[in-house]
């Protein structure tokens, strides 16, 4: 993907340099790209690059949203520390 076109959000810089950005930072980048594009102050070539990057980011976010893999676990304090158990829904008492 592009280098650092947005120049913007500093907080996501760590994620960016490693592997995949989080949904969070991708959204931030995407939003900053959108506002740069909306400002109208972008040279045409840069704009197309931004657009391309923005689309990639949007796609990435979309993919993240699509990853449906629901898990509900209960943490139980045992002797060996914290343990996970699947949530037993049946216990509804209260």
């Amino acid at each position: 993907m592009a280098k650092n076109v947005t120049g913007g959000a500093d907080q996501s810089s760590i994620n960016e340099e490693t592997t995949e950005p989080t949904f969070e930072s991708a959204m931030e980048k995407l939003e900053s790209i959108v506002s740069r594009l909306e400002s109208g102050d972008v040279p045409l070539e840069t704009a197309i690059e931004l657009f391309q990057e923005g689309m990639s980011l949007s796609r990435l976010c979309g993919q993240k949203l699509e990853q449906v893999e629901r898990r509900i676990e209960t943490l139980v304090e045992g002797e060996a520390g914290l343990q996970r158990k699947p949530f037993a829904a049946g216990k509804e008492e209260a």
Partner: protein, 453 residues
Amino acid sequence: MEPARALSIRDINRLIKMKLEGDAGLQNIWLRGEISNFTFHSSGHMYFTLKDEGARLKCIMFASYNQRLPFAPKDGMKVLARGGISVYERDGQYQFYATAMQPDGIGSLYLAFEQLKRKLEGEGLFRAELKRQIPLYPRTVGVITSPTGAAVRDILITLERRNPGVHVLLYPVSVQGTGAAPSIVKAIQAMNALGEADVLIVGRGGGSLEELWAFNEEAVARAIRASVIPVISAVGHETDFTIADFAADLRAPTPTAAAELAVRHIGELKQELAYLERKMAHSLHALLAKAKERWQHAARSSYFTQPRRSLLAQAERLDRLRETLQYQMKGEQAKAQERFSRLSGRLQAVNPKQQTVYARKRMETAARGLELAMNGILRDSQSRFSSLVRHLDALSPLKVMGRGYSLAYDENEKKLIRSIKEVQPGDLIHIRLSDGKLDCQIWGIQEEERTNG
């Protein structure tokens, strides 16, 4: 004792009032007792008596204070009242002026709540800038609550409804009773140690103040504040605030609301993505249109569409210059021609031929004058001459002697003898005739009578 120094009742009552109000031990104090003779006057003020075993005290709570009472006082109710002692001057009766009141029993909890809240607030634990951002899209939500209550069910159902992809880590705790607070603290710490959850929901369903009490414990508040993972508090119902609510990063009025706040609806997110994409495409097209327009504006410049037009001005300028040049040159030439024509006309006019005509006339006049003058002189000389000659001729003496006359001169021939008296007889004289002379001597002299002159 003099009667003059006696105080009036009014004065003494006022004095007592001032004394009582000036005593710090009688002001801003809490009293505990049972309400009796409760009257809610139409003016809004409350009049009642507080009593305990063996003592009673008249009380009044003005409308301005009792409006915010969280409960409705009634006879027989045990309450904690806050206020100060003062005197009703007219009756000379002291009474308690209540400013706050709460039911006794849980009343001590209120006090503790207030005190803790004030303390933690003083420490800055609730400051807005300490609040952590709730993640926009948490992958895992940690839930700390009772595993059996309605709260956990509400939370799970809501999370599933909003985003089925979200993981839930449930840490079951007891939410009321003495062990509740430490268990909640432990759960928060465990969640942080595990580091899986992106956000924590800590809470329980609604209940009485006592039931909610664990969430007003200092340890819980501090654990919430110490959590690295952002915490959403979800305790009780809308109107109940706990210390945990103040300490949490976000306060939800109910567990359901907490789940809604923790996880945004997936559809909404998708919509937002689509919206951002549309915005991007729109902006890009706008930029392209702008660039295109800018390009067309430049390309449409008459210099590119009609490049020859720019030459026209120069060609015109050149034509004008050329015309002026020729016009001026012809003008110069015509001027010179005219000047020359005038001058050569003047030259012809002063042709010396005319002068020669005058000269000839002058010469002829002079020549004529010359001849005339000469002839005149000649004629004058001739006439003068002939006149003289005539005169001379007329005077010629020879003519006289020709008629027989002669001239007698004296002896010396010097003197002409004109009278007889000039001579003596005997004198020698000379006689001149027309053709010679005679030498003679006088013989006699005869005088004659003169007849005519």
